[in-house]
Structure formats: structure tokens, C-alpha cells
């Protein structure tokens, strides 16, 4: 069986199940769980072969489907067909979940249309009248603004900013520059000669700090001031000091 679709095209295991059901041209009520389980697990296996990352939810569903399938193979207790107990019957429960999920899935095109429609109407920013009319009152009678009004105002202003200007390079605040970090690391390496990679970042290091550290190490390696080694996969990475810039390594 050839898989043209990738797992990241699905919004989750239920979406994948709906896809398989649609492919099989059957309704949710008539699905054969044993059959669909095989197809589902097949699909997952193939994705694994392609080295695609699979969210744990997909594997949980695979286990759940297998559970239903195995349960169905057991001799059936007398089930009262008139009253399906969803809590007790996992197969019915799964069908119900699929139906509920499909309800929302089927309404998506409506939201897409509405989104498209609205994007065709453009409104202008309110005219600033603060120069025309003086305001004497400092009070606000009905204070019903929330933080979401602030967030909304901020988003609007940002959208306008992007609309009126060419995309500006994002200015990220860095508490430490790469050059600073290079100097720090060189000093440290000079003293210790060799460092474990995990020792130069701490658990409370900020993401920026970690990135800067990475870049500093890359820069040091590029300039042949250090060499990096690791004896085995998942073992500690060592950063080893070679020597000063411009100084040849002597035998």
C-alpha cells in the first residue's frame, strides 16, 4: 500500500481515522473496528519507516484501537442493543468521539469562508481628535476594559505597523553578546583545558543565553581554538582547548 499522505497533514489521530474511514467509503456507524485498526497501525508503521515524527497521541490511539479489537475477539456477553452504554462499550464510544469530532471538522469551511469574506473589507484607524477637542474629565465612569482590550489594541497597532513599513529586522534583546561569551569561554577553557558541554549551560540559563553559547562555541571551533568530541552517541560532549588564535599548534 502506497502512502501519499503524511502524518503531519492530520490534526490528530481522530482526523487520521476519519481519513481512513472516508478512504474506505463507509460511514462512522458501519466501521469495522478490526479492519480500521489494521489500516491505522499500518499507516503509523509506514510513517515510522519514513522517520516522520509521530506525536504520542497517535500511538495512544493505536493502543486503544488494539484494545478494542482484542476485546471484540473475546466471547461477547449479552449486550442489550436497545441501550448502548457508551461508558462500557469502547467501540461505541470511539464512534461517538468520531462523530463529535466530525461535527467540528465539517464546520471549518464555514469559518474559512467567513475569514475570507472579512479580509475583503478594510476599515481605517479612528481619527485622532485629541487636538480638536479638549477633555476636562479625568474620570472614566464605566470601567469595563480588560487586559484583552489591551492585547487587542496592541495587536491592531502592530498590524498597522507592519502594513505601513517594510518588514523590519527583528531586534532581539540580548543580555550577552556572542563576542562576550567567546571571551568568557576562552578564559574558562584556558584554566580548565577541557569542559563538559553540559557544564557550561545551567538549568536556569535563558534560551537566548543557550543560543549565544552555542554560537560562541561554533565560532571558537571555526577559528580552530577548540575541538569538540563525543565518544559515543548520547555521551557527554567535550570541548577541548587548542590554543590562542593565530598561534600554531606545536607538536
Amino acid at each position: 500500500m502506497e502512502y501519499k499522505v503524511k502524518i503531519d497533514e492530520f490534526e490528530g489521530p481522530l482526523d487520521l481515522l476519519l481519513y481512513l474511514i472516508k478512504e474506505a467509503k463507509i460511514s462512522i456507524d458501519n466501521i469495522n473496528v478490526a479492519e480500521i485498526t489494521e489500516q491505522y497501525i499500518d499507516f503509523i508503521h509506514n510513517m515510522e519507516k519514513l522517520n516522520l515524527e509521530i506525536a504520542s497521541e497517535y500511538l495512544v490511539m493505536a493502543a486503544y484501537l488494539t484494545f478494542i479489537k482484542s476485546r471484540m475477539m473475546l466471547p461477547k456477553a449479552s449486550i442489550d442493543n436497545e441501550e448502548i452504554d457508551y461508558e462500557e462499550n469502547p467501540e461505541e464510544k470511539l464512534k461517538m468521539r468520531l462523530k463529535i469530532y466530525k461535527l467540528f471538522k465539517d464546520i471549518i469551511p464555514y469559518f474559512k469562508e467567513q475569514e475570507e469574506e472579512r479580509s475583503n473589507f478594510i476599515t481605517k484607524i479612528p481619527t485622532d481628535l485629541s487636538n480638536e477637542f479638549k477633555l476636562d474629565s479625568k474620570e472614566i465612569i464605566i470601567a469595563d476594559n480588560t487586559v484583552y482590550d489591551l492585547l487587542s489594541a496592541f495587536n491592531k497597532v502592530l498590524k498597522r505597523y507592519q502594513l505601513h513599513r517594510p518588514i523590519k529586522a527583528k531586534i532581539k534583546q540580548q543580555n550577552i553578546t556572542i563576542d562576550d561569551r567567546i571571551v568568557e569561554l576562552r578564559l574558562l577553557l584556558k584554566q580548565k583545558q577541557s569542559l563538559r558541554f553540559i557544564d557550561i549551560i545551567t538549568s536556569d540559563s535563558s534560551k537566548e543565553f543557550i543560543v549565544v553559547t552555542f554560537l560562541a562555541i561554533l565560532e571558537l571551533a571555526k577559528n580552530k581554538l577548540i575541538y569538540i568530541n563525543q565518544s559515543e552517541l548520547y555521551q557527554d560532549i567535550f570541548i577541548n582547548y587548542i590554543g590562542e588564535e593565530g598561534v600554531e599548534v606545536h607538536e
Binding site: 497521541e57 463529535i100 461535527l103 469559518f111 474559512k112 484607524i125 479612528p126
Partner: protein
Amino acid sequence: MNRTEMLAALEGLLYITGDDGLTPNEIAFVFEIEAEAVQDLLESLTDMYDNSLRGITIINTAGRYKLATKKEYIDVYRKVYTNLNKMRLTNAALEVLAIIAYKQPITRAEIEDIRGINSDNILRRMQSMALIKEIGRLDTPGRPILYGTTNDFLDYFNLSSIEELPELLEQLEIDEEIEQDLYTNLAKIKIN
């Protein structure tokens, strides 16, 4: 102020308030008129804009009336503002928003039960876009956050109010019995 003057003044007001717009109550307050007269003014103004020489129209999103350009000439405006309204939400985001819109107030766990997949990042993103907000907390252990939609949500989807959403179950051709089952079981259904 006679009706003609009110119409002209209303157009000026809508121009000034731009995307803020005005609620019918605010219009009633300004002109000291009844709600019916407000609707009459708005209709007359809309009729005036319904003319091929006019490039603006009136829309109602999130309960506020606002002037907006007619959609026919969007390409002209795109020429001036190159990145005008290009952004579109992903399917995953739309799924989460649809679930919240119909089932609000709703917790993250309930959303994830329906979708069958972790939705944390999308929720954070939708909250940052001010399309959803925290509207309270459930009185159960852990006091989980309850989410609901915002006015920006209504505006984004060109809705005057949440009641304008189509009936969810009408989309599916299913009989009433199943409908009943779906509703009663919506709460119960959880993956083990």
C-alpha cells in the same frame, strides 16, 4: 436636527470612529433618538452606499457598525498596502476556535478530548491573537481555565454576534435521536 442632517452627521461619525465603529446604543445617545430610528438611519445610509459610484459600505461586526471599503476593489488597495490581510489561520487553529465558539465556556482538557490531540500551543497562539480569552475558572480540583471567544473573534469572522453562527448539528444529516445522544454524551466521552 432633521433626518437629512442626521444622515450626514452619522456618515461623518462613522468616518471618524473608523474600525472602532459605533454601537446602536451610542448612535441613539448622540442623536437622542429611539432604537428604531437608529435602525432606520443605518438602513438609509446603507442604501445610499448601494450605488456603483460609491466605494464604501457599512458592516456590522461584534455588534458595532463601521464604515468599510467595498470588496470589489480590494486589488486596488493591495497595490498600496502590499501585505494587506494576507494572514490566514491554519486548520488546527480553526478547529480549536470552532470548538471554543460552540462549546464555550470550555476547558483545555475538554478541547483536547474532542480533538484527541494536545492543543496547548494553538490555545496560547489564539489567546495572543486576542481571538479567545480566559473567562473564568472551573470550580474543580486544579481550577482549570475556561476559555471563550472575544470581540476580535467576531470581527475576524465577520460576525455581528455569536448567535449568528450556523447550527452545528444541522451540518450533519442526522436524526434527532442521535443528536440527543451526541449532546448527552459530549461531556462523558473521554479517551481512557
